[in-house]
């Protein structure tokens, strides 16, 4: 697309008088100027953040000193931080391992014609559209030990008054479950778009040859859906690593830091202990992880999507 339009622009350029041609060089910058200013408006606090992470800035003190990389060295010895980091990575890993196959399964289910499938596809959008913090409240109500629906549904099986959000392991699993509830529809709907964009011929040919479904899935479907899978991974990894709202609304990181992710620990570091400089050093670690992951996946995605499968390659 972009190749075609640049070519067309080229032909037009040849027709217009020279003055307008020069005008075209600065014109797009003029059009983008307000948005570019906003860009600078974001980069400024970002560089401030880098600077603050090299200081001993505390919110309750006016004066702060440049201390070099001491905050970062401190992080390596901070067991609470290492716990939060490990917890974040573990939660992200397990969540993705569940969400991808589950989402794929749902996408396959929704890709076949059946009565009511359209309504189901629409309803699948609901978890995506709700504010995550409100989803957290909703599940907090569902999981309430005495008046919650989950315990009521489990009571016939002899399980009673389970304190889902106040036992460390159960709280961790509950957060995982909520995260899966929120995000699997996203995975499913993107993969569904991918499945619907697949060319028909190879699958018909494989069907005629009597290839088993497992073979078709591994040798045809998975490779052709690769750009979509990479895309899903890219969005999901970044979002699950910075998980905050859902945890804030349900457990607040507790009990005993069982559900404390990096973002939650950063928030506490600032608003409970006032260590702004140190907190920003923590979030910078997350920034680097996110940056590396999304950069790597974005380049893989660009490569994979040059293969024409309905994903727009830029």
């Amino acid at each position: 697309m972009s190749v075609a339009s640049s070519h067309e622009l080229g032909t037009v350029r040849a027709k217009v008088p020279p003055r307008t041609r020069r005008q075209q060089n600065w014109f797009p910058f003029l059009l983008s100027a307000p948005a570019l200013l906003a860009l600078i408006g974001v980069l400024y606090p970002f560089f401030t953040a880098i600077y603050y992470s090299l200081t001993d800035y505390r919110l309750i003190r006016q004066i702060y000193n440049f201390i070099g990389f001491q905050n970062y060295l401190q992080l390596l010895r901070d067991s609470a931080f290492l716990h939060a980091l490990g917890n974040t990575l573990l939660l992200a890993g397990v969540a993705l391992i569940i969400e991808l196959p589950l989402g794929f399964g749902i996408a396959l289910l929704l890709s076949r014609p059946a009565r009511g499938i359209g309504i189901l596809r629409s309803l699948l959008l609901l978890p995506l559209m709700l504010p995550p913090v409100i989803t957290g409240f909703m599940w907090k109500a569902m999981l309430a030990p005495d008046s919650g629906l989950v315990n009521m549904l489990l009571s016939p099986f002899g399980l009673k008054n389970i304190a889902w959000l106040s036992e460390p392991l159960l709280a961790w699993l509950s957060i995982l479950f909520i995260e899966v509830w929120v995000s699997t529809p996203f995975v499913a709907l993107i993969l569904l778009s991918g499945i619907q964009a697949l060319p028909k011929e190879p699958f018909e040919a494989a069907d005629v040859d009597g290839a088993p479904f497992g073979f078709i899935f591994r040798k045809l479907m998975l490779p052709m859906l690769k750009p979509f899978i990479i895309l899903v991974l890219m969005f999901r990894i970044v979002d699950v690593l910075k998980l905050f709202d859902v945890i804030f609304a349900t457990t607040g990181g507790g009990p005993l830091q069982a559900t404390e992710t990096l973002s939650i620990s950063v928030y506490k570091e600032v608003f409970q202990y006032y260590n702004l400089g140190y907190a920003i050093a923590k979030i910078m670690v997350l920034f680097v992880i996110n940056y590396v992951a999304s950069f790597f996946l974005a380049s893989r995605w660009r490569k994979a999507s040059t293969f024409d499968t309905g994903v727009a390659a830029r």
């Binding site: 697309m1 972009s2 797009p28 800035y57 959008l125 504010p131 409100i134 109500a141 994903v311």
Partner: protein, 288 residues
């Protein structure tokens, strides 16, 4: 994936039963928590805390009327409307601001070739992948110095992190799909750039534009962390406001549930209006 011609109708029946069962399970899985919150919102306080939970009860609208400040309102009740208004102002303002500054950038990125074009585009996109806390923690200090802390304008500015990259990327992808020849014809006929953009490009891009604006609004409405950190009671959105039902002495499930229903209803309606465009929007135009 065309099916084999089934020799045994029995197997076919079993298979479609399995499919409908899976669909049913999926339906329950998605809808149950949402239905439950709706049920809570029409239960009286004594029915809510009943153990085991009552499935048959006399519905009441008391939670809603207290939410809007009628009757014996408990903590936070009558403040709800103020939070709701804040959400409208901040989300609406953020989308409008993004639209004004972003629409021309989107057009430039779609239609012109200039130096650093892709770098600029990808820098916008990168906002989506930066942890928000990286930006808002220094802003917490900067805003207090500039007097932007706890102001609508300050929040509208920071919400650009959510709305601007989405708007620029999506509009760019919609503009790219429009045939360029019509614009060229009008330009060669001597119409100035802006009137071509205003009278030809924008009307053609209308469906995509509408979907983009609505999705930006929904994502802004859903935001929690900006208002939590950079605002206080007088500017915070409804997502933060609902916290007050939970953090008071005892959790007020009824009003919390009623507040939730009111807070999510408008955006659910909006989301269904643009559902055809949603996946494209959520992937920044990558999946068409």
């Amino acid at each position: 994936m065309t099916d084999h011609v089934q020799s045994r109708p029995n197997r076919e029946w079993l298979r479609s039963a399995g499919i409908y069962l899976a669909m049913g399970l999926l339906l329950v899985y998605i809808l149950l928590p949402i239905l439950w919150i709706f049920i809570l919102s029409v239960k009286s306080p004594s029915d809510i805390v009943a153990v085991p939970p009552k499935l048959l009860f006399r519905p009441t609208i008391k939670n809603y009327s207290e939410l809007f400040g009628y009757g014996a309102s408990l903590v936070g009740g009558s403040d709800f409307l103020a939070y709701f208004k804040n959400s409208l102002i901040v989300s609406g303002g953020a989308v409008l601001f993004s639209l004004i500054i972003g629409i021309f950038a989107a057009y430039a990125l779609a239609r012109f070739n200039f130096k650093g074009k892709e770098n600029i585009a990808f820098t916008f996109l990168s906002f989506r992948f930066v942890p928000e806390l990286t930006i808002i923690l220094p802003l917490y200090v900067i805003y207090q110095k500039l007097g932007l802390y706890n102001t609508y304008f300050g929040l509208i500015l920071v919400y650009q992190l959510v709305t601007l990259p989405l708007l620029v990327w999506l509009l760019r992808s919609y503009f790219e799909e429009l045939p360029i020849n019509i614009e060229h014809a009008a330009r060669t006929d001597g119409y100035p750039w802006f009137s071509v953009f205003w009278k030809i490009t924008l009307p053609l891009a209308k469906p995509g534009l509408a979907a983009t604006v609505i999705l930006s609004f929904i994502l802004a409405w859903n935001n929690f962390i900006f208002g939590l950190i950079l605002g206080s009671k007088s500017t915070q959105p409804v997502t933060v406001g609902i916290l007050s039902f939970i953090s008071s002495q005892e959790v007020q499930w009824g009003q919390m549930a009623a507040g939730t229903v009111v807070a999510i209803l408008p955006e659910i309606i909006l989301a269904f209006m643009i559902q055809r465009y949603l996946i494209r929007g959520l992937t920044f135009g990558a999946v068409k």
